[in-house]
Each structure stands twice: as structure tokens, then as C-alpha cells.
């Protein structure tokens, strides 16, 4: 299990990195945490001629609050998300989800931007970026642009990133006193890819749901937003009866894939169970 031979550069700026990619005739890959790329190289599923190491670029690091947004540098490691007080206060949903991301060894190296750029539909952070209504700041030689998470995840491992483009940062609307959230997933073993997972971010005023986003992971080729369920809930107060209705409605939102081990019906069933449990335990921002 050895990677094919490749060249390696460690540029000093995002600008240099973008240029290095442009010079490689498209046969290059950015590497940050390497938690997905390195296994793919070893398995020869990917074999770029050039690896451009962006992990240490200062401008890709850091967590900060800018106005009503939390800005997460693309190279922020998963463990930093997990341990950050800023994230806990301003994006509690991410804090909750972070403890489900793989294992400590992977969290120590894997990066937030890398997770979004890979767009694994079973990953927690892409799905939660969607649930939080994040904006993704993209660097390219043509200049910076910003794409909403809802427009970013296009298909299986497919994103709005053009070849050579790089995520610079992710902007998450900061939680308010009316923000409630919950996250959970069902995985066979702690840290495994979930059979199904879900995160909910809601604005609740006096018990009434004003806004809500419910996003599922591992139920399709992208993170999936349960819009029918959201519409059912908006304007209402959560009651056991409403939660039951939400569970029934979920079928209209999800069309999960199945295999021998986990048939589609199983995923759908688990998604319903999870939805019911999460709606029953939405928590206020700490």
C-alpha cells in the first residue's frame, strides 16, 4: 500500500499555493490534515503529481468573531473546534458535532476546511455547515468569492469548488439567546461513520419555532436538509403530537441509499427515530 511517486511543495502564502496549483496543469492536490487524502494516496485511488501542503499557512488558521459571524479558518483542526470556547458560545451545534468526528488522533490533524472540501456525505461538518447556514469563503487566482453552504455541496464528493480553488474560511452566523440546537448520530462504534446522523439548529421564541434547519448526514450523496419537516414545524410549538407528525413527514425529505448491511428502510427508520429524539432535546445556547 504505497502511494505513487509525487512531488511536494510547501508554499508560504495562499497566493503561492494557488499559483503552484495553476502551474501543475491540474495534476495537483492541496493537502492540509491529510486524513482522507493520505489513505486515498496509499490506496492509489488518487495519484496527483504534486501535493501542495497548506497546513501551516498562517492565513488559513484562527477562530474569530467578526460582527455577527464566527469565522473559522479553513486549516482549523477538528480538536480546536471541539475545545474552543468561541465555538461553544457562537456555534454550539458545531461543538456538539465535533465530539462525534472520528477519533482523537484524526481530530488532531484533520481540518475543518478539508472536511468541507472533501464533502463526504457521512461527515459531520459539511452537514452542520448546512444546518448553520454557513457561508464558505473561497480563494482563487481570479479573486475571492463566497458560496452559501446550501449551494456548496453538489454531489458525492462534489462541491462548488473549481479546480485550483481553495477554501479560505467558513463563516457561521453566531448563535443568539434564542438559538437552540441538538446533534446526535447512530454509529456502530464510537467514532465510526454513522449509519445516520442529524443536527438541528433552531430559533425559538417563547416556545414557538421561528426558524429551523434540520440536516441529515449519511442519507444521500450530499448532506440533506429536511425542508418539509422544517416547514411543518415553523410557527409552531413542539408537542409530542407535532414531533410524531414530523417523523411521519420525514419520508418526504429523505431517500436514503441502502445496502445489504444497512438497507434503505433501516436508514429511514433510524432517521425517524433520531429526528424524534433530537426534537425532544433541543438545547439553548450556553
Amino acid at each position: 500500500m504505497k502511494a505513487r511517486a509525487f512531488d511536494y511543495v510547501r508554499p508560504h502564502s495562499v497566493e503561492e499555493a494557488l499559483q503552484a496549483f495553476a502551474n501543475a496543469d491540474g495534476d495537483a492536490a492541496y493537502i492540509a490534515g491529510g486524513q482522507s487524502l493520505v489513505p486515498a494516496l496509499a490506496l492509489r485511488l488518487q495519484a496527483p503529481a504534486l501535493l501542495i501542503d497548506i497546513a501551516r499557512l498562517e492565513e488559513l488558521h484562527g477562530l474569530s468573531v467578526i460582527g455577527d459571524h464566527l469565522r473559522i479558518g479553513a486549516a482549523t483542526r477538528h480538536f480546536e473546534i471541539l475545545n474552543s470556547g468561541l465555538v461553544r458560545t457562537h456555534a454550539p451545534l458545531l461543538s456538539k458535532a465535533a465530539s462525534f468526528v472520528a477519533h482523537p488522533a484524526i481530530r488532531n490533524r484533520g481540518t475543518f476546511g478539508g472536511s468541507l472540501a472533501l464533502a463526504d456525505p457521512a461527515s459531520e461538518f459539511p452537514a452542520m455547515s448546512l444546518a448553520l447556514g454557513a457561508e464558505i469563503e473561497i480563494a482563487s487566482l481570479a479573486g475571492n468569492r463566497s458560496v452559501a453552504a446550501a449551494d456548496f455541496f453538489l454531489g458525492l464528493y462534489e462541491t462548488a469548488l473549481q479546480p485550483g480553488e481553495m477554501i479560505r474560511a467558513v463563516h457561521v452566523p453566531a448563535a443568539t439567546a434564542r438559538t437552540y440546537c441538538a446533534f446526535d448520530e447512530l454509529a456502530r462504534r464510537r467514532g465510526d461513520y454513522a449509519l445516520v446522523g442529524s443536527g438541528i439548529n433552531a430559533e425559538i421564541d417563547n416556545g414557538r419555532i421561528e426558524r429551523i434547519r434540520i440536516v441529515f448526514l449519511a442519507v444521500g450523496s450530499t448532506p440533506v436538509q429536511a425542508k418539509n419537516v422544517e416547514n411543518l414545524l415553523i410557527g409552531n410549538c413542539l408537542t409530542p403530537e407535532l414531533i410524531r407528525k414530523a417523523q411521519e413527514t420525514l419520508e418526504a425529505d429523505l431517500d436514503p441509499p441502502g445496502d445489504e448491511q444497512t438497507p434503505a428502510e433501516m436508514r429511514m427508520h433510524l432517521a425517524r427515530v433520531l429526528l424524534g429524539r433530537l426534537l425532544g432535546r433541543l438545547e439553548a445556547t450556553p
Partner: protein, 789 residues
């Protein structure tokens, strides 16, 4: 007979003591030396091109481009290696009418499982070898794959020269079975499916084959449990005199039975080294391990139990179909697991009417063979689930049901219905002990309370019997050159320390530690002064090494007898020096002492100094024998059976089908315990593997015979977060066949853990109309059983 004192307050009394492992620090510091750490001058690296199909005809193999790649030294295909290696056939004579197709290192003409090595590339580095492997063009005409065992039974033979896909079939019948079922008040019958799983050792398979043509000498540095067996295999199949073949097993990172079978890759690499006259290294990567290491289990069992309304079992009838891949493994065969399944059924219980049918079937998947607890988990799960099912029907408590049926402790020696001879087992004591350590009555109270709150807890128990200390009745009688004896050399160094080289081997389970304990104990020296060496056919006597729970019972007895021999020699020399009678002397804390008073007379270093450097001061004609070699083969009972009982507590989430394993208990009787710490950890590791089988591990294949979860992301090995506390208690019934009295323990945990877990889950689901008789018990299977999906 057990004759040694065994008291823990003697000086140097190490037998029965939880001492630490001398090699643990080295391994923890990362200083272990595994095969892959070895770098030899002029060493080349191997990579394999494997069949992408489970069944197919090789039309063409084009290696031209691969050969032309810079850094590639050779590319071999089937014919190249068959020319220098005689085929091997995995049958044993005592399995009557068993058949298996001959095997050669690389596929010839046909491929019969997905992952079968077809071409071997040898290059300056592994990366180059893999680059070249990508350039090899295989043209294979795909043939229909036989993945399903039942289908394979009646399908056309996979292998030319065989008339069917039945490898081996046998029937056992003690008589009276039909009568027992006719007279029974109750018959319980269930169909069981046991999934395939595999060993997943931390260190994968590895070999550096180093052939020196100038001496016609082969040295194989090989991650194996059984160096002597491989010395024999390499010698015979490559035509090199056995004395010229050296197999060295350095540190080995786990084996579990997986590292004692002959694999095509290792044979090909040895062949490549012979053809090239250079060392060649091969290390299986994890993806290769999944498609080439042996798998195990894969049984479909239909079984029924005849029971009276008093709960007494009167008969058992079993049908087992097991699929083993396209051939039987070598040299131990793939029929041993099935054979043990049908012979261990009902083993703890007192009934005489037993019948079984076993069919061992070829199919297009990787070979299965012996893996930790061979056959035991299946026999145990089938028996114990049926016993529980009967208990439920009769509204008997599982403990009570077993108490009414188990073989009483005072009725030994006796034979099992399948012909096994039990010297002495302790089911009654173990069962009572299990009930006590589980606080069983409290668990049942708590279960009832929680059930009121909608929480489904389940308690399951299982009794087991384990085969250990195998005599030549296991393999030798079948014609296999697999030794049931072991040998040790114990010698005194000129500084008065002790060196022991022995044929049992270390895979991380602590063999060297217990051998050191036994030698130090028997010689009367500090344990720190005993150095134990294993795993090198050039420097240790020939022996069986590690398999079937024999290290402590047979290897330990070998060490004990060898140490006593050296002790006698030391006392003889000391007697001459001291002008005392050897019988009145003893060795304690590295000193020759007066046995009666403990008075120190002369130190061992001083005896050694005189014997080695001042032999002129000894009486004329005296030759000090301070190195002894001793062999020991088990006699008496063909196997030392052990027994025990396990309990498991689970909580089932009926909405998700997820199971939380809350606690596991084991009461085990392995005879004399040499190191309680190591015994407990052996049991815990074994339980974890059993729970892995029960809930997580399964090699999944599609109908085309492709393994669909061959990576550690998809194949779920049990991890610490999901494992419960495992509480252990012991009963000690030493075997009288040896002086040490030790039996094996390595497989005990695995033997019954999955059975106890199945019973626990079914106990939790009792009243929900669901019964699980298939492992692993996945959330999907549980929800299906509940009718939720």
C-alpha cells in the same frame, strides 16, 4: 500426578504469581523487532497482482511492461514458481475421504477466489513493486462464482479433478436419538447462522526469505506461531535439507491461529528468493490481509434438543454446513473447525443420545481455517441457545435449567456423547461461582424494574468446555508433520544465571514470561536471572510451538521437567564440591542451601565458576552437565479439557436495534494457574474477540464472491469504547497427567462470550416476539427480528 509444593510463600515461588512481563517494557518503548523492521543487504521487495474475480479462467498474463520498469528485478507467474515448489494438499488421513485440490504458490490456469495471487513482482522497493504490479495485464475470463455454501454443495466442482464441492463429510451417531425425540415432552429447534470473520492481528503477515545458494541454505524471518512446522514445509516443498532451513520468528504482533497456515504469498516469496539468490521481503498490507488471511466460522447449523418436562435433556440432533473457500488449508486442514463443532455440542451436559451431520464445502471465497477457539463458539452458542430456549418454554430459570443437566462434578472421569474423554471438570462449582459474582438475583430484580420503564435489559449465561493440551491425536495421527511435543534447553551460564531456549513461542500472550516463572521456580533462582529465548529453529529444540492452547500445559511442563533435570545436575556437582549428599541440598535464592535448615552453603555463581573454569578441582571422572535438553510429549488423556461459565448483561435499544454491552463475567477452570494476571488478560482478550463475533465482526460478500467490507473502516473490530468491564473468577482443577497441572486458557474467553451475548440479547427481547439466531447481531438484524423494518 501433581507433586510440586505450589505454596506461594517459598523463596522463588513464581508459579501462581502475577508477575510482570520482562518483554513488556521493550515493546512499549517501541524497541520490538518485527519482521518488517528487518533490513538485509541486497534485499528486494515483493508485491502481488491478485485476481479481481472470485472464479475465472486465466486467458493471458502480460508482464512485459512491468518487467521493463526501472528497479524491477523479476516478475514471476504460476509456472515459474511451480517449477521449484511441489504442490501442497490440505487433507488429514484421520478425516476419512477428505479431499482438497493441490495448491501452488501462484495461480495456474484458474483463479478460485477474489484476491488470489496471480503474479509476483520483485523490485528494489515496495513502492516500485506496486508501480510495476499496476502495469501487469491480467486477462481473466470470469466464471460464475459459488458464494453460497448450500448452492455449492450440489454445484459443479470448482476444482478440476474433484467430483464435487464436498471437501469432507462425517456423521456421528451415539444411537437412540430418534427414540429420545419421540419420547420427549418438548423439542426445541433453531437455525443458526455464524458469519465469517477474520483475525485482524495488529502486525499483518510478514516474511523475509533469504536463500543463500552457496550453502543451499534458506533463512526465513517469518511472523509465525509455528517456526518448526514452516521449517518442515519449506524443506519439503522446495527440496532443501531440513537442517539447511532456518525459520526465525522474531517479535510477533498477534496470531490467534491465523499465522500457522501455509499461505500462497509466503511460498511465492521463498520461491522468489531461491530463484534470485537474494533476500525478498513481503509484508501483507491491511487490504491484502482481508482477502488472503484465513477467515473462520461461516457455519449454518440446524439443531434440536429433546427435553423432558422436568427440564432434563435426553437427546440432541445437529446438522452443520460450513464453507471453507476453494481448498482446504495446509497442513492443518479446514475441516478441524467443523469437526470440533460437531464434537463439542452439548459437551457440558449429561445425556447420551447424540447425532450430527457435518458437511465441509468448497466455495469461491478465501480459505477458512483455525482461528482462536476453533469450533468452540459455534458448538457453545448452538447448545446454550437451545438450552435457553427450552428453559423459556418450560419457565425454568437458565441457572436452574443448567443445574438440572450438567455433568456432576463427582462423576469423572467420563466420556462425552461424542467420545471425548473428560478427566475432571467443574461445572457445578463454576456455575455457582458465576451466579455469585454476577449477583444474579439482583440483576433479575433490576431487569424487572427497568422493564417497567421500557428499558430492555437482558442477562445471558453460557457453559463451555475447551480443548487444550492436544496430544498427537490432533494432527500427528492424521499424518501431518506437526509436533505435539516440545523441547527445552536449560543451561547455567558461567556467571550462575540461567538461559532457557524452548520451542513454544511468543505472540504477545506472555509465553516467555510463564516459562521464565516455571524455570526460576523449579531451580530456586531469582526470576530476573532467567533469560528465555523462543522462535528460532536453529537455537531451540524442535516442538509444536503455539496453537490449541498448549503453551502453558505442554511447554510449561517441558520447562518444568528440564529445570528439574538441571537442578539435579547442579545439586550433584554442589554435593561433590561440598562433600554433601545431593538429596540433603536444595537451591534457594540462587544459593545451594542445606534443605533441612536453609543454611547457605555455596552460591550458584561459585558452582558455575568451579564447574566451568576449575573442573580440575572436581573429583576425577566428573563431567559437570550444566546444560540440559529435555523433551516432553503429553501422555495419558489425548486432550486436557477445561471448562467454565460466562455471563453477559446487555441493554437493547428496541427503537434503534443498538445493543449496549454493560458487563461480562467469566468463571474459568484452566487447572494450575501460572500467572493470574496473564490468565485474566488472556480471558479478557478472548472475550473481546467473542463479543466482536457476537456484535461486530463479519466478512461480507456479494453474490459474485467479492468481499465488500475489506478495510478497517468497514470491517468492525471491537474497540475499547464498546467493550464492558469483564470480571473474572477462577476454579483450579489441575490435570493429573502432568506435574505442573496446567491446562490451556487462551481460547476460553472466545469459546462462550458470543453464546452468553446471544442469550442476553434474546433474554432482553423475550416477550417482544423476537429471537436472534444469527451473529453478528447487528442493529439491522435486531430490528428485523423485532419486525420494526
Amino acid at each position: 500426578m501433581n507433586v510440586f509444593a505450589g505454596s506461594l510463600d517459598r523463596p522463588n515461588s513464581y508459579i501462581g504469581r502475577s508477575v510482570t512481563r520482562p518483554n513488556a517494557k521493550r515493546l512499549l518503548e517501541g524497541k520490538g523487532r518485527y519482521v518488517t523492521d528487518l533490513i538485509l543487504p541486497r534485499m528486494l521487495h515483493a508485491a502481488f497482482v491478485r485476481s479481481p474475480y472470485a472464479h475465472g479462467k486465466i486467458v493471458a498474463v502480460n508482464t512485459e511492461e512491468a518487467r521493463a520498469l526501472s528497479g524491477v528485478r523479476a516478475v514471476f507467474s504460476g509456472e515459474d514458481l511451480s517449477a521449484i515448489c511441489t504442490p501442497w494438499i490440505g487433507t488429514l488421513d484421520h478425516f476419512r475421504n477428505m479431499k482438497s485440490p493441490p495448491q501452488v504458490p501462484l495461480a495456474l490456469g484458474k483463479v478460485t477466489w477474489s484476491g488470489q495471487p496471480v503474479v509476483l513482482v520483485v523490485a528494489e522497493s515496495r513502492a516500485i513493486a506496486e508501480d510495476a504490479a499496476e502495469l501487469v495485464e491480467l486477462e481473466i475470463e470470469e466464471l460464475p462464482a459459488l458464494a453460497d455454501p448450500v448452492e455449492a454443495m450440489s454445484a459443479e466442482a470448482i476444482s478440476q479433478g474433484l467430483d464435487s464441492n464436498i471437501c469432507f463429510a462425517t456423521k456421528l451417531d451415539s444411537g437412540g436419538v430418534d427414540e429420545a425425540f419421540e419420547a420427549a415432552d418438548l423439542t426445541v429447534e433453531q437455525n443458526f447462522i455464524f458469519g465469517r470473520h477474520t483475525a485482524v492481528t495488529l502486525e499483518p503477515r510478514a516474511i523475509v526469505a533469504d536463500y543463500d545458494p552457496s550453502e543451499n541454505r534458506l533463512t526465513a524471518h517469518h511472523a509465525t506461531q509455528t517456526p518448526y512446522q514452516f521449517q518442515d514445509v519449506y524443506s519439503r516443498h522446495f527440496g532443501i535439507p531440513e537442517a539447511n532451513v532456518r525459520v526465525v520468528a522474531p517479535d510477533v504482533g498477534g496470531s490467534f491461529g491465523m499465522k500457522l497456515h501455509v499461505y500462497h504469498e509466503e511460498m511465492a516469496v521463498v520461491g522468489a528468493s531461491i530463484l534470485l539468490g537474494r533476500p525478498v521481503k513481503y509484508l501483507a498490507d491491511r487490504m491484502e490481509s482481508f482477502v488472503s488471511d484465513i477467515h473462520a466460522r461461516d457455519h449454518r447449523v440446524t439443531a434440536r434438543l429433546a427435553v423432558g418436562k422436568d427440564g432434563r435433556i435426553s437427546g440432541m440432533d445437529v446438522d452443520d454446513i460450513t464453507a471453507i473457500g476453494p481448498f482446504s488449508s495446509y497442513p492443518r486442514t479446514s475441516a478441524v473447525e467443523g469437526n470440533q463443532v460437531v464434537r463439542l455440542m452439548g459437551a457440558p451436559y449429561d445425556f447420551s443420545s447424540y447425532r450430527a451431520n457435518l458437511s465441509v464445502v468448497f466455495q469461491n471465497k478465501v480459505q477458512t481455517s483455525q482461528y482462536r477457539a476453533v469450533g468452540h463458539p459455534i458448538a457453545c452458542a448452538v447448545t446454550e441457545c437451545l438450552v435457553d430456549a427450552a428453559a423459556r418454554e418450560l419457565s425454568l430459570d437458565p441457572f436452574e435449567m443448567r443445574a438440572r443437566n450438567l455433568i456432576p462434578d463427582n462423576s469423572y472421569p467420563r466420556k462425552s456423547p461424542t467420545g471425548y474423554q473428560f478427566e475432571k471438570l467443574s461445572h457445578e462449582v463454576c456455575l455457582a461461582r458465576l451466579r455469585a459474582i454476577m449477583n444474579y438475583d439482583d440483576l433479575r430484580r433490576e431487569q424487572a424494574e427497568l422493564r417497567g420503564k421500557g428499558i430492555l435489559r437482558g442477562v445471558g449465561i453460557a457453559l463451555f468446555v475447551e480443548i487444550t493440551n492436544p496430544s498427537p491425536a490432533f494432527y500427528g495421527v492424521g499424518g501431518a508433520r506437526i509436533s505435539a511435543q516440545d523441547g527445552a534447553i536449560v543451561k547455567l551460564t558461567p556467571s550462575g544465571e540461567v538461559h532457557c531456549s524452548i520451542s513454544v513461542t511468543e505472540q504477545g500472550q506472555g509465553t516467555e514470561t510463564i516459562i521464565g516463572q516455571i524455570v526460576a521456580d523449579q531451580l530456586g533462582v531469582d526470576r530476573a536471572k532467567v533469560r528465555v529465548m523462543t522462535g528460532d529453529t536453529d537455537t531451540t529444540p524442535h516442538g509444536g510451538a503455539t496453537w490449541a492452547c498448549r503453551g502453558a500445559g505442554i511447554g510449561g511442563e517441558t520447562a518444568l521437567q528440564a529445570a528439574r533435570k538441571l537442578r539435579n545436575n547442579l545439586l550433584f556437582i554442589a554435593g561433590l564440591i561440598l562433600q554433601a549428599k545431593p538429596g540433603e541440598l536444595d537451591i534457594r535464592e540462587d544459593w545451594i542451601v542445606e534443605a533441612a535448615t536453609g543454611q547457605q552453603r555455596i552460591s550458584l555463581p561459585e558452582v558455575a565458576r568451579i564447574a566451568f573454569f576449575r573442573s580440575d578441582t572436581l573429583p576425577p571422572g566428573t563431567q559437570a552437565q550444566l546444560s540440559v535438553v529435555h523433551h516432553y510429549a503429553p501422555q495419558g488423556y489425548p486432550f486436557a479439557f477445561t471448562n467454565g461459565a460466562q455471563g453477559c448483561l446487555v441493554e437493547v435499544d428496541a427503537e434503534t436495534g443498538f445493543v449496549k454491552i454493560l458487563k461480562h463475567w467469566v468463571v474459568e477452570d484452566c487447572g494450575r494457574i501460572i500467572n493470574p494476571l496473564l490468565v485474566d488478560e488472556q480471558i479478557r482478550g478472548g472475550v473481546v474477540q467473542g463479543l466482536g463475533a457476537a456484535f461486530f465482526e463479519e466478512c461480507l460478500y456479494n453474490p459474485e464472491g467479492q468481499l465488500t467490507n475489506g478495510s478497517l473502516a468497514d470491517y468492525l473490530v471491537p474497540m475499547a469504547c464498546e467493550m464492558p468491564d469483564i470480571e473474572i473468577a477462577h476454579v483450579e482443577t489441575p490435570t493429573q497427567d502432568t506435574e505442573l497441572g496446567a491446562k490451556g486458557v487462551g481460547e476460553a474467553g472466545t469459546a462462550a462470550a458470543s453464546a452468553a451475548a446471544m442469550n442476553a440479547v434474546n433474554d432482553a427481547l423475550a416477550g417482544q416476539g423476537a429471537v436472534l439466531t444469527q451473529i453478528p447481531m447487528t442493529p439491522t438484524r435486531i430490528l428485523r427480528a423485532l419486525g420494526s423494518i
